[in-house]
Symmetry: C2
Subunit: 194 residues, 2 copies
């Protein structure tokens, strides 16, 4: 195993440790010292890989966005119809909400702490949220006309974000159930009332 591979592994380990702490305690509330202590690396190692905390945050967000994107790929690949794909996304969120250590969405949290347009963290959040919305729209455009798909994608996106917040407040079960019923009703009316 070469030095370069070790360095890459260490870099990734720092990112994943920071992700866990950022998600649980918040961005400002998590200090560099806590991250390196939890990751078991020296401070200079961290600063060699990431020139500042802000750069580390953006790297954590970008890694997590890519991780989520790949998870969706694997989740949706074996699912045939668009409707079933939407249901699969709901299922995934339901499992997430009930997973141990669930503490809300790091992208939402980051938007709260760095909510100024143009800031690197804001833009990283914007990229991820836009990608999720676009993904929903791509699925829906397989069965709905473009404008309808866009509105429906916005709606599903807002429902998912709202459900994530409700889950953080301890009402994930109820949120997912309502989200499912609403999506069913909308798909039903889209079929019948078009």
């Amino acid at each position: 195993m070469s030095l370069r591979a070790d360095a890459a592994e260490k870099r990734q380990h720092i990112i994943e440790t920071a992700y866990r702490l950022f998600k649980r305690d918040g961005l400002h509330a998590t200090g560099i010292d806590k991250i390196i202590a939890e990751a078991g690396v020296a401070k200079m190692t961290m600063y060699r890989h990431f020139p500042s905390k802000e750069v580390l945050i953006v790297n954590v967000l970008d890694w997590r966005a890519e991780h989520f994107r790949r998870q969706l790929d694997m989740l949706l690949e074996p699912v045939a119809t668009p409707d079933e794909q939407i249901v699969a996304i709901f299922d995934w969120h339901e499992r997430w909400f009930e997973s141990p250590g669930f503490h809300g969405c790091l992208f939402q949290h980051s938007l709260a702490e760095y909510g100024t347009p143009g800031h690197a963290v804001f833009e990283a959040v914007s990229r991820q949220k836009h990608a999720l919305k676009q993904r929903l729209q791509d699925i829906l455009e397989q069965t709905l006309p473009e404008e309808r798909a866009a509105v429906f994608a916005n709606t599903l996106f807002m429902l998912i974000e709202g459900a994530t917040m409700l889950a953080h407040l301890g009402q994930g079960k109820m949120a997912v159930a309502s989200m499912r019923k609403t999506a069913s009703a909308l798909l039903f009316s889209a079929d019948r009332l078009q």
Copy 2:
């Protein structure tokens, strides 16, 4: 004007100044020194009214929740039907999203920074969000059976929270438009497909 009235005014002035800074810059990112400088009061004045920053935060949130509740009262009082009341709430949010200095929802931000159940800030957020959801449910129960009203209230709540986040990301117009269309479709299907 008595000393007591002066003190109450000063206390309220601190709360409103802190609200503005917390909303714009975040909770951890806003220091006591910045609050008192912006409010033009001495540090001891602030600590006489609020024994700690955490207590100040909770007071800001509770004041803002009450302020929002009163705004809704005034907004909905002259509106006759439940459907029109829902539309009025959408209208209010649309105006909010476009108001100068809109920077997302302070309650969402606070949940991101103090997201641990049991924490005083978490509980303050929980109270406000639950109150909004309950209010939506009360409106809907005037025309829908209880269980349907509950699901619909959850849905509208999630849409509103998601729309607020999208507005923070600069897509408020689109979010409100989709929210309106979805609510119309749901009300229509509720009437026709029950």
